[in-house]
Structure formats: structure tokens, C-alpha cells
Symmetry: D2
Subunit: 278 residues, 4 copies
Amino acid sequence: MPAFFLLRLLQLQSMVSFMLRYYTSGESHGETLVAFLSGMPAGLGIDQAFIDRELWRRQQGFGRGGRMRIEKDTAHIVSGVRQGQTIGSPIAILLENRDWKNWQESLPVEPGDPEKHKRVASPRPGHADLAGVLKYNFPEARFVLERASARESTSRVAVGAIAKLFLRDLGIEVLSHVIAVGNARLENTEVGWEALQQLHAKDEVLLNCADPATEERMKAEVDQALRTGDSVGGVFEVVAHNVPPGLGTYAQWDERLDGMLAQAVMSLQAVKAVEIGT
Amino acid sequence: MPAFFLLRLLQLQSMVSFMLRYYTSGESHGETLVAFLSGMPAGLGIDQAFIDRELWRRQQGFGRGGRMRIEKDTAHIVSGVRQGQTIGSPIAILLENRDWKNWQESLPVEPGDPEKHKRVASPRPGHADLAGVLKYNFPEARFVLERASARESTSRVAVGAIAKLFLRDLGIEVLSHVIAVGNARLENTEVGWEALQQLHAKDEVLLNCADPATEERMKAEVDQALRTGDSVGGVFEVVAHNVPPGLGTYAQWDERLDGMLAQAVMSLQAVKAVEIGT
Amino acid sequence: MPAFFLLRLLQLQSMVSFMLRYYTSGESHGETLVAFLSGMPAGLGIDQAFIDRELWRRQQGFGRGGRMRIEKDTAHIVSGVRQGQTIGSPIAILLENRDWKNWQESLPVEPGDPEKHKRVASPRPGHADLAGVLKYNFPEARFVLERASARESTSRVAVGAIAKLFLRDLGIEVLSHVIAVGNARLENTEVGWEALQQLHAKDEVLLNCADPATEERMKAEVDQALRTGDSVGGVFEVVAHNVPPGLGTYAQWDERLDGMLAQAVMSLQAVKAVEIGT
Amino acid sequence: MPAFFLLRLLQLQSMVSFMLRYYTSGESHGETLVAFLSGMPAGLGIDQAFIDRELWRRQQGFGRGGRMRIEKDTAHIVSGVRQGQTIGSPIAILLENRDWKNWQESLPVEPGDPEKHKRVASPRPGHADLAGVLKYNFPEARFVLERASARESTSRVAVGAIAKLFLRDLGIEVLSHVIAVGNARLENTEVGWEALQQLHAKDEVLLNCADPATEERMKAEVDQALRTGDSVGGVFEVVAHNVPPGLGTYAQWDERLDGMLAQAVMSLQAVKAVEIGT
């Protein structure tokens, strides 16, 4: 087939295709989270251990709450993958909440005993609680907290892991590291690619900082915050290695890669700023 | 609050909202189907019995295959509903395949024993088999058949049932009946609304025709087709009762209600024509 | 570059691309219609004469109103095409209304003389008039009629012509013909491809029927309707020649080609039914 | 009508509506830019002077290039507005390029004289030039520069001005000011709302800084950059006043207001970072 014809054919295919789409659902203390991924091509090898390691990494860290010790996430793929490969159909992943058994009575799907409901009477500042209560006309913030929760990111890690498997075939790798926690800041932020790979291969994940000395200072910041009952902000950097030029386009505002990336990152619970480039 | 201000406020809210969105995933013989529904408002009462009755109705009929006897569907809601009400968060529903235990070895998610794979060597005419095999580069049509399957409509019935619960609050009801099967055709197609309601209340669903005599002739058509190993086409009518004017709009081609309805119906397995109005 | 790598790269590109998108704007008696087309690849030769011929064909026909004689449409491309080729940027096409000079006083963009406004006091049955008036809270139907107008299809013909130029590079051609007008119906509907091509090459377009004798009977139907002040329905067939398998997919309901086509056709003013296949 | 019923009705309407959508097209030196806005409700008063003042403000500034002196933008609305009000139909706005007469020969829509083409042989660093040339397979960067141009933002200002008119009915106002240019930085960034309003009412717009002394230092930064042929970065703040709680939602990642805002701002030419909140 002549190259030009093949190009036109591929362009035609993409004209009638939606972009890769993903959605998440599930409450923090419900039975299970569900991650949904549509548009992944067929024939991609799915490495379950890789996905689960990504989920494990998400649960590590220094100063994490007790919840992290209760949950030990694993991706329970129920559709779109057969015999270790994607088949082009939508992928659904269940991420079960081990804590569910303790919440079945207070957060049932069916009408339950209202006495068992665990109210969240005072909206937490800096969270979606107040806006959610007003928007959805709830008498208190329990249902807001259940969805506007950091636990939602578990679903994103699962679909993100599959996306990373796809990128791996192209030699593209996406890694991240922490640059600052409170006042503890990496002095030389130009961390080499090999150092990032080593950081990601480690069997213990504390604050994911490439420099051990800085990480110690970061831990001190977290300790300090824990002592005062406060929390502490930070900065992380995501590095995409080996990306080919020409993804996205300047042609239309909503097709610009920078904008798409900014939305994806900013829509994460607790992220307040995004910067692209150096 | 003055009415005009309230109107503007509601318009503003809808400007930054997506439409009601639903997606389905799952293979015909996989562990479970997953139906996903995003954008349903909070505070809608979820009547589990109604959803399950809709699923039960889907499985009835005259001349249905043995599969229908194996599966007895029930909507296993895992998110978006708490204490019998929607909470504004995405709703995910599992529709488990009882047959899964018989397919776990031949259709595993993880790499399994290739010997156990059940090939579909000859693409079935009139189905997506050939196109799917070419599109996704499969050696045979098993994975196509698994997704391009009438079983997928189970997920649609589940989300459709929730949509019907929403419409019920507005006094809107959507019912359907069968007008023709093969050459057996209802002579007077103007079936009254009460007759449709009675038809839907029946405890036995054969061919869902409002006229018993015509239904007998339809059954004869199905019998005839079964004897010759053939299948037989038909015509059904969907009636939406009490719909307010002004849904959708002529303003943009993809916002016209007629077009949206046509896509929704035509995207159902086996539907080949859509007609709107009388 | 190895084929597998190239495939993955192309898949990656399409994952971050929107589908081909088109929108239209403009009122029937406004200054100009605007057709907007986003996502057409760069490097496609734009044959202005072909687009204008498509626009000319749209204006032909037997029994068309006087409007068709006033307007002689031409595609005034203002963006996305340079030196006869697409450049990947959004394409905007102006389709000026020659009649505008007669409507400038009664339909001005700026606040004008209310006395000059041409009211449409009685909503026309079978049109969007009543629904539009209720939806948008208009005192009468002028603004509904201006947009819910067959003239809108001019914009679709213009973007459709560019889409046809793209398909031409793949050897795909899309032609149509009329099968029935009122009771006059083509007896043998299996019209060959060459006959369709000849039909489209003709310099006079009346009712676009491949059989001259049937077309005479169709004209009689139209004459009869005109005499009685009535209108008359019809049936047309669209044939896409040489389409490769695998466009769209059964993977998700809104990605099925049948559904997309049904929406596209049903969203045309006056289309009430769509049938796919033979 | 009871309040609950009315609420459900409005919810139903928004379920079948798309969000407010806008797109832009047009090249920097083409005949005209086109801004397209779909989904604005009917009955909104359109204040042409306000839109044009917003366009005028965009063209002001200290150290702007000569282009700003050539173009004096005005919004030429061609659809969706009649008698000074929106009518619910899509709005299209032409923003004509006065410079077009000087580019008609080198950037014609139709095939022109290749000798007249003005090549951009060396891709400018920090721009989309190289990526665009590779993506679209152009021999040089002229067509990239034409679209990936700051002039595109003119279209956004025009649709943004209409959005501001809509928000005005709700008492919501969106204003911005410059906080830093190079090393010149506003010391007290908590500028009051009245000071911002006064800043926006001024008849001379230089660097849009609320503090005259800081603005002088900013001008010195620009002067310095101009002398060395360099450019200089800056920081601006956008303040939305009187926004009701509950816009957007935490329910789904792509419905979070923070993410949408980040994408909108980051998709602007030259914006490299977005921060939300204080």
C-alpha cells in the first residue's frame, strides 16, 4: 500500500475516533472504586505486577495516615483485557476498599438505618465540603467527603499505569520526584534521568526525593506539621522522557497539549498550581 | 431571589456541566459487565426493584436462547448511591455474568492456557466479526463476539432504568411495544397509553405485543424461523409520555433531540432503522 | 522505523486528538452563514470548483421556492486553507446571504427599529416553531424560523464537500439519489455505481432520480402538492463507495459508525427516518 | 409549578445540553479571524461598545509591536445576535485583519504564485514552530506561525467579552492585573476590588499594574529587554468577584472547575504556569 494512502487511511480512522477517555467512580468508604478506560488499542500486553506496584507506590510515603495501612490496593481488571492483552474494548478496573466491611452499615447503597449514618457536621476548610453541601443540598458533608477524597486518585493511578505500559512500547517513560516539602527544597533541581529511575526502583518510598539529605530535611518538615496538627505543602516534578514532537496541536485551544496536561494535573485533589517547562 | 437572577444562575451552572454521560464495558462471558453513569443529580430515590424488573423484562421473550435462562440479572450498584438515594457522584453498576465460572479458563484476564481458548473461526455474516478482526488485527473473532454482543444492552437497561426513575419525578414515562415480527404486523398501531401500561405490568413477557391475536401470529413467525435455523426481523415502537417541549435545540446539529435519539437507538446491536414521529 | 513502533506512534497521536468536528452558525436571512471545520489534516488540496458545484447542486431541484433563485452560494473560505491546501488549522467558510440587504433593517444585529421586525405570529405545524418559542421565551417565532431553517444545510454541504475531497484521496466516493417522492417510487432500487456517477455529472438537477420515467412521475407528485398548497415526502439513498472496513467500533455505544451516521442524517431539517444497510 | 418539579425540569434540560462551547479559527495574516460561541442563552443584551473596549484593551500595553498599531479590532457579529440580543443560536464573530491587503498575494486561499510566499526558514525557539513543521510536514514554519500566534487570543477576548456580559447579570465580574514583569514585582499583591475597577476604567493601558511606582519599574524592565532584543516574562492575576459556590463539581475529574480554568489559561499562547487560590 503506498505510504500516502496509508497515511490518509490512518487519518480517516482517527477522524471518527474519540480521544482516549477515562472516568472514575466510587466513594472513599464504599464497596469499590471503579476506573474506566475507553479507547486503548488492542494488543497491548498488560503487566499486572507493574500496575500493582504503581498502586503500592501511591500508598507509600512518610507521615501517611492509618488508612494507607488498611488498604493494600490491587487492580482487579474485569473487562477489556483477555489472556494478558487488551482487546480494544473498554477496560474496567475494580479497586476494592478493604475498609468497606466497617462502613456497610453507615454507608449502605440501599436505605439503611439513619441512626448509623456518620455525619461530618463541620465542613473542613480548604476542601470541597461547603461548596458540595450547597450544590447538592446535603444536610451535612459526609457524601461530599466520600467523593471529594484523595482516595479517588487510586483509580487514576490504575488507568495511568496502563497508559504507561502503552507508552513503554514507544520508549516513553514518565517519572516524578519531589522537589520541595515546606521549606525543605532540593537545591539542584536538575536531577538526571538515571537518578530518577533509581529512585523509582527503590523498595522503600518515603518522600520520593532524589537527594537523601534533602529528604531528611523534608521528613523534619512533615514531623513538625504532624506535631502541630497542621499539614504542609510541597512541589513535585513530572518528567516525560523521550516524548516525540507533535503531540497535541496549536490548531485549537482545547487541543493544546499544555492545556490538557494542566487540566489533568490541576484536577487532582490538593494540587493548586501547575507549571510547564523549565 | 428574583426569578431572573435564579434563571441566570441555573444557566451558568449548566454552562460548566457536561451532559448526562453513560458508558458501558464488559464482555459477554467475562466476570461482569460494568455500567457507568455520570451527571445524575443528587437526591433521586433509587428503586432497586424497578431496576431489577427492567433487567428481568429484558431477559424475557419468546424463542430466546438458553443464555437467558442461565443469567438472571440484578443491578449491583457500587457507587453513586447511598442510603437509597443518588449523591451526585458517578454511578457504577456491576452486572455479573453467572456463566463466568464456565469461561474463566478460556477467557482469563491474565495470560492463560492458549489451548483452552475457544476460537470463533468463521466470522458470522451480518455481525461486526469481520470488520472487528480486521480492525483490531485478531487471528479469529472470539474477542469481537465477546464485546459486539447483545449482552451489552444489559448495561444500557440498567442505566436506562435509573434515567426512567428520574423522569418519573416529572411525570414522564417511556414505554415500548412490538408492532411487527416478520410478516405478523399489528393492524391498528395506535395503541393507547393505558394499554401500554397494562402490557408493561404483565408478569409474562413473550413478544410484548399489545394485541394477543397478533402476538400469536408473531409467535408463529418466530417458531417458523427457529425451525429453519433462521432469524426474523421486527419493529418496535417507543412512546415517551408527557415530555415537555424544548428539550434539545435546533441551534446546533449535535444538539437536536431527534439526532441524539436516533444515535442512541441505532447504536443498539441489531437495530437497522429509526423513525421519529408518526 | 519499525512498523510496530510507527503504529504505536500513530495510535498515540490519535489518543490526544479530537475527532473531526464541525459546527454551523448563521440565520436564514442574516448577513452570512459560517461553517466551521476543525481537525482536517494538513496538505489536502482544496478544489473550490468542487465545493461550489456541491453548493449549486443543493440549490437545484424541481419545485424549489423563490429563495433558491435569489441565493447563488459560493464558499468563501477565510481560514485553514492557504495556497490551495489545508494547513491543519480550523477551516472557516462564509456563505453569504445575498438576500441580507433586504433584511438588514428588520433583522439587525444591533438594536434597531422594532416596527421593522417581521413577526411570525402563527407557529408552523411540524416545525420547531412552538418548541423554540417556549424554550427561548420569544414572543413569536421569527428567531426560531431564522435558525431552524433548511438554509442551515448550506453550511453542511460546504464542510461535507471538503470531507469528500479528503475521502477522494482514498478512492471513497459518497453519492446519493432519490428513490421515492410521494407515491412515485423507483421500482428497481439497485442503481449501479456508474449510473449514480452519471446522475451526479448532469448539468440539470431536478429530482435526482436515476430513472427518467420515475422522475417524471415524481415531478407530477410535486406539481400536485404545489397545486394543493401541500408538501410531499420522499426517500433518498446515500451510497458510500469503497469504504474500508473498521471505521468506528463496536467497543462503545457512541463510537459505533451506524449511530454516528444516524445522528448526522437525522439532525438534518425534515429528515424523519434513517435506515442503514439493504 | 412546584419548586421540586421545576428543579427536575431544569436538571432534565441540562442533561441534554452541551456545555458552553467556543472555538476559534483564522490565521494571523489571513482575511479574518472567526470566533464561534455555542450555547449562550437567548435574551442576553449584547453591548457592542463593551466588546470593542475589551478588544481595545487587548491591543494596548507598553512595548507592543507595530502590529498593534496596524490592527484596530472590532467585533463584527454575523450570527446569533439580533436586535441587540442573543437568540440562542450560535454566535459567530468576524475579527478582520486590516493587514490582509498586504498579505493577499503571499498567503492566498487559492493556489497563488509560490514566489510570493514568505518563508520562515528558521524555527523560533520557545515557539511551536519546530513541532508544527514536523507534525504537519511543512517545508518551513510560515503556516505554523500563522496559527500559533498571539493574534489568536483576539477571538478569545471577543467570546470572553460576551461571557462577561452574561456574568454581569449575576453580579459576577472578572478583572485582572499584572503583578510582576521581570524583576519588577508588586510588593503588596492584595489589591482591592475598587482599585482593580479603577485600573480597568483607565483610558491608557500600559502594563496594567495597580501601583504606578511598580509600573514604572516594570516599564524599565521592558525597555531593558527591548534594548537587548530579548523578551521578559511576567505574572498576572485574574480575580473573579462574587462567584457563587458550586460551579463545577468534584464528581468527575473533567468537571472540576480548577482543572477547566487551568486548561483555559494554559492554552493561551505564552502562558507557562497557572496557580489557583491564594
